[in-house]
Symmetry: C2
């Protein structure tokens, strides 16, 4: 098990030295400064890699090469954009960086309503509040037909949440949902957001999956050729949002992805936090079934509360993290090789509370999560690098 | 297993809120502001306890009620000092604080030559350097007859260390060794230190053990009466220093302690860091043999380098921490009750490097150690409170 850490590049307030001291040996990053859709130049990749290696670390995983909306929509230059994506992968592989994480969520990436929710011990965490989300969808975004997506109870609770929020809270909610969380590929105004959603009016799950198939069948031959792997990240949360199609939320979705193309490169990021939000998801069963094609683990835990959830301590959520790690170890033992994982998200604790950091990505909270994971892995007899 | 944390009281730069966020539920502390030898007033105990409880924590362990030098020397008012110690324990028990850690090291408590030794990742740690220690003993303290305590190689290396240290480094070395590390009971000048050591000229291990027996036989009846336990901390490092007798360094020493008085209150702090410095010490065997009378665990790891050692990551030292935790769990399963442990020491990492903290007791480094321990404990199926 390779201990890795998401780093947002030279502007990340968490430094490479911090990361080494937290105990990670590998870096998960992307060329976040490049616009979505362009080819990543080999020189820029080499430069970033050098920076990481000079700090005594290795670039383990790319998260992510973003998938342009036009690929998901199959409009405009989508074929060229697929070719560009494949070329970025080729350039990365030429520099020895071959583990690529990506996602195929339309319009929005991960979604939270609260970025600094107070816990009883004074820590702050991310939270998805269903009432606030409904309030945004129905009464701020005013999406047409949205009400049909919710139960009458949800609608009533959403209305109440809207009515009791201050203007400032509403502004903050809008920013949290559509202004782009770290790692997100897009950022919108309300009007842009509504327009972007409308583009998917005719795209249901099957059609989105067909678009994903065209993308995969376009890039997987290159992955196979250059020895890269592709690890799709699940939807977060793993269900439809704003009526948009989502196709990586369940074990059936995972099977459908594998049915598209049986290349061993066509695999998964096993994100225990995202999959874990959905009550019916059996994480251990997923790991066992897809052992050969899980290329990367995101380890975190969420705690459900109806349709709401918050980011719990790594061993304090609904998912049985010890069993997840046990399955991860069995997978490595069977394959005879080591896979990267990263602690995901983390509470803001101690100096995190007064230092700047990206939402969900504070230094000390993640250090705590990584240390808990490391201890459990060592206790279970795993090789921890 | 109860997660506790050493806190040096209201002046500790690490706050009770920090400690909660690190995940500890219990506090290990003492009335550090009171002079050695006085009775701890019940009101002062109650006040400190209230402060801890108002922060959502409990006062789990007293570390330490100091043992006055005159008790170890049996001089002056030593009988009164023993009575005072017993009265402090009685007052603590009256407030419900019954787990008492103490030590019986003459003159010096724990000893390190370097308090901020640089590790390759930029972290800082505690280190005991044998060459510097010999340099101090032979060429700064100039202790009579000291040379006989060391091998010719040690003497030569100590001389070389002395000759290559700057005056500033020498001053720092003196401060590190005799000016009192946190939790130490005394602080000396060179002259005071030499004079204090000389008081032990006629006290060998047997005589010191006899003095310990008089102390224990004086206070254990009170412990039994009020339901308190006494957990002696091992010598740190576990060997004679400055020719002084040390009597809590090995499993034979532990047996000798138990032979003094068979009260179940007459027990141990199993400090994996201190005992672990001595190559022949088998920590698991100690835990198994003294399972019934280990009242408190200090969990940390040291890495030996000849007679030198440094404080390693909690799972990166010579001791097999996973096996220690496994034995700890077996002990709890057998006894059917939960015992407190604390992560001990910690590297200075991240904001620790720029914030004030007591040597060995930085917030984030200890948080990391506690998190690693917690993860391992959960993975081994322990109940972690």
């Amino acid at each position: 098990m390779k201990q890795t850490w998401r780093w947002f590049g030279p502007n990340d307030p968490v430094t490479l030295q911090d990361i080494r001291q937290a105990g990670a040996t590998g870096i998960v990053t992307a060329l976040h400064d490049l616009p979505n859709g362009v080819v990543w130049p080999r020189e820029a990749i080499a430069e970033r890699k050098k920076m990481i290696e000079e700090a005594g670390l290795v670039w383990s995983v790319v998260e992510s090469i973003p998938i342009h909306e036009d690929i998901k929509l199959q409009r405009g230059d989508w074929r060229q954009l697929i070719a560009n994506w494949a070329q970025s992968m080729r350039n990365l592989a030429a520099e020895g960086v071959t583990n690529i994480c990506y996602n195929f969520m339309p319009v929005i990436d991960w979604t939270r309503t609260d970025l600094a929710w107070a816990l009883p011990n004074g820590a702050r965490c991310l939270r998805f509040d269903q009432d606030r989300f409904v309030a945004f969808d129905l009464f701020i975004l005013k999406r047409e037909g949205a009400e049909a997506d919710y139960s009458p109870e949800d609608v009533a609770a959403g209305r109440k949440a809207f009515e009791t929020m201050s203007d400032e809270e509403k502004d903050q909610l809008v920013r949290n949902i559509i202004a782009g969380l770290p790692g997100s590929e897009e950022s919108y105004t309300i009007e842009q957001f509504a327009a972007q959603i409308a583009l998917y009016d005719d795209i249901d799950q099957d059609r989105l999956r067909a678009h994903l198939a065209d993308f995969l069948n376009g890039v997987l031959p290159v992955a196979d050729e250059v020895g890269a792997t592709m690890a799709i990240h699940p939807d977060d949360p793993p269900r439809s949002m704003f009526g948009l199609p989502r196709i990586v939320s369940t074990i059936e979705d995972m099977r459908a992805l594998r049915a598209i193309n049986d290349s061993p490169a066509n695999g998964f990021t096993l994100c225990s936090g995202s999959y874990g939000v959905r009550e019916g998801n059996d994480l251990v069963a997923m790991i066992e079934e897809f052992a050969d094609v899980i290329h990367f683990f995101h380890l975190r835990a969420t705690k459900r509360d109806g349709n709401s959830f918050y980011e719990a301590d790594h061993f304090g959520g609904d998912v049985d993290m010890v069993e997840v790690i046990r399955a991860f170890k069995a997978l490595e033992d069977r394959l005879g090789r080591s896979l990267p994982f990263r602690p995901d998200h983390g509470h803001q604790i101690l100096d995190d509370l007064t230092r700047r950091s990206n939402p969900g990505y504070p230094a000390i909270g993640r250090l705590k999560g990584l240390a808990e994971l490391r201890g459990a892995m060592l206790a279970l007899g795993a090789t921890v690098e």
